[in-house]
Symmetry: C2
Subunit: 453 residues, 2 copies
């Protein structure tokens, strides 16, 4: 039996002192600095970035603080019975009966730390580091972890989606009972959509999870989101690719969003992710550690892991183009000249673009490039039958994107044209509802609420 | 004194019958079709599209219905005392003391009607037609109206913004006391931003108004939005360009949004317009016909109409480009090759784009093309200091767009480069807060509320 290190990251003199006190990570300690000044909190693991002579403590306000032993007069142990870490050690035998969850690391803030020399955040932490930081995870499952890449979210490409999809597929085949993917939040919904199309008939939900705060900032949401993601992949009744993120700025609830219907709607808030034109599938109550369904429209888990339908290719010659007043039609001409394989337009209103662009779009379609229309209002549905410009676009063969998010339509078209370039087939597939990326019925609940009556 | 036609659009036999009954538009009539079947409602004006032998009646459910006189057994007059139209006639003398409001027609659904032969909506109605349809407007002001163009919203271009701005400027100088602009909703927020930059120090608010329903559909919101727009331009304490649109799907309230901070967020709902990163400036209660302030941060009315600062030029060589995983840097290269005058990127997260694009952006800036970064999350603020990619973009000279909407930043850059192409000056102007397009303080109220706790 491999002994678990109770003092990960600690070495030298600091380690000696802590070992003498018989404390481990998770113990509550009081550090006396002299006089009446003391610091009380949970002993935390130490990372390579912090100086070797410091002790890291999580205060009750959530802040992590590092204290140099040179400033310490004394250390008292307040509580060390059944600390998470000793708990984990004693559970190692029991643990064999727990399900196996695979955690794939794909970078992002959830796996990042502050680069102290510059103050900027850089990816650094491995999934196993995360387990050290979040001992509560041990109660739900055993874990295997694998870093697929350690990149910032904005550097994701369709090629990365393929690598993730292939690895997820292999993990499902290998027999794991849950999969969690840590990912940067910027482009998480794109990757979630990609996996949703690439792998269907899933035996359990694939949970993408991220953090809007780096793990050593006070209100690190990484831990709570990760716990919720593990609960989701193990307990949820649906077999869909989901995004598991905070539902409010508070710590109690996390939403499980359908991957193809979610969007990052705020650059920095913890509850930045919002389902668009759909309800979240479920919420996770972190106090009760319970998942409850919100949305009755979901794809149930497949009965066996052999049923997964995998089609993991993505074409990187699709463009997502936004319409605006004065849009220069030469941009479409350029994409046609460069023989792009598909164009998704983020149109105005019900799915429009200036009528001066129609000719260029017509040329694109004539040259075998499928053009899909979506809406920049995000909420609502394409309806190109209402106005003359829209009807003209339909006539020349523009494919209406229904209520799909522009981002989802972009990923879907990239997935489709990697399989076929025949425009009739592309249209048929684009309009097929594979994984609830199209919601045929909208209710007022699906729209954002105005702040005031 | 010019007699006002009490039966606009009616002619021949139908007009004879109605004149004999001494009814006018706005009278409540009961049309007996035979047996116990009758239709009761308000007599409405008739438009060129409806057959010459029909009478148009607005039912209590809001629907307009046309009844051929060939099917009519009898017509009873229910109520015709102090109808709005007779009211207007008697007010003509009083009216001279009312303020003058200028209504500019720029097309869109608010000025459109169903094209009966195809079922599609086509622009057709003049502002004076709107006055016929909405007699309540007469209580607030006298009106001058002018159709600047009759185009669909998606066909607006920077050149149209210039024409509108010039006309608005002339109208202010001419002495009117309020200005309302009817406009298609698709690109209304772009035009509102354009006018906000083009004309500053306004003596009263310029109110853009539209409709999410064409005027002969049941829940036509045109009337209510227009009344609210007139109340706003006449009564509001601010001198800003605003968008006046329904705040909820119900009929009671209308929001007055700051033009540079509003966005169409739903393709079809009546309450599609939402202020982003800001509160609406005010709301109008349509029952009480009162405007109440919501936002204390506003630019007050200028003391005199001579103080207006006009700078009405817009450059149509600016592109608005959306970032996405796998974004092809050759799109930026193309804009540089084609010597575009400016590029606004709608970046991911806090203002990012794949690091493989940095080189092309650097070339753009080196060749004198300003590049502005905004966020596709819409809510929140650009912060390029947090991650390495963002800091690299700042280093090479990308201009951070703060909390400006991508659409507003696009219009602002178009406005700026029409005045100067000197990149240092462009940066300085881009970061100057001219008309509250930048909100330095966000509160939780500024974010959309999730539907569930």
């Amino acid at each position: 039996m491999k002994m678990i290190d109770r003092l990960p990251g600690y070495s030298g003199r600091v380690r000696d002192i802590l070992e003498k006190l018989d404390v481990g990570v998770g113990c509550r300690i009081r550090i006396i600095l002299g006089g009446n000044i003391f610091i009380e909190g949970l002993l935390m693991p130490k990372h390579e970035f912090s100086a070797s002579d410091t002790i890291i403590v999580k205060l009750s306000n959530g802040y992590n603080i590092g204290v140099s032993i040179n400033n310490i007069q004394n250390i008292e142990v307040c509580e060390c019975i059944s600390t998470p870490h000793t708990g984990r050690e004693s559970q190692i035998d029991i643990a064999t009966s727990l399900p196996m969850v695979k955690i794939f690391g794909c970078g992002g803030t959830i796996a990042s730390r502050v680069e102290y020399e510059t103050g900027a955040v850089k990816p650094a932490m491995t999934p196993s580091d995360l387990l050290d930081l979040i001992p509560e995870l041990a109660e739900f499952a055993k874990y295997e972890s694998e870093i697929l890449f350690n990149i910032l979210s904005e550097d994701m490409t369709p090629k990365h989606w393929e690598v993730i999809a292939e690895n997820v597929y292999r993990a499902i085949s290998s027999g794991v009972e849950g999969i969690v993917i840590t990912h940067g939040t910027d482009t998480m919904s794109f990757t979630a959509s990609a996996l949703a199309f690439a792998l269907r008939n899933l035996p359990f939900p694939i949970a993408l999870v991220g953090s809007q705060r780096s793990s050593d900032r006070p209100s690190a949401d990484a831990a709570l989101n990760l716990i919720a993601a593990v609960i989701t992949t193990l307990k949820a009744p649906f077999g869909e690719v989901v995004v598991v993120m905070h539902s409010t700025p508070s710590d109690s609830n996390v939403f499980v969003h359908r991957g193809v219907k979610v969007r990052k709607m705020h650059s920095s808030r913890r509850d930045a992710f919002q389902s668009i034109n759909d309800l979240p599938l479920a919420k996770v109550d972190l106090h009760k550690k319970e998942l409850s369904l919100i949305n009755s429209r979901y794809i149930p888990r497949a009965n066996s892991r052999e049923e997964v339908i995998a089609s993991v290719g993505f074409d990187d010659r699709v463009a997502l183009v936004k319409a605006y007043p004065g849009f220069q039609s030469e941009i479409i001409d350029f994409l046609v000249d460069k023989k792009f394989h598909g164009i998704v337009i983020e149109g105005t209103g019900l799915g429009h673009i200036g009528s001066h662009v129609t000719k260029s779009i017509m040329r694109a379609i004539e040259e075998g490039i499928p053009v899909v229309m979506t809406i920049q209002t995000l909420f609502g549905r394409v309806n190109m039958n209402v106005y003359t410009t829209g009807r003209k676009l339909l006539e020349i063969g523009v494919i209406p994107g229904d209520d799909m998010l522009p981002e989802t339509a972009y990923v879907k078209l990239s997935w489709i044209v990697s399989q076929t370039r025949e425009i009739k087939k592309v249209r048929e597939m684009m309009m097929t509802n594979y994984v609830n990326e199209i919601n045929p019925v909208h209710t007022p609940q699906h729209f954002l609420k105005p702040f005031i009556g």
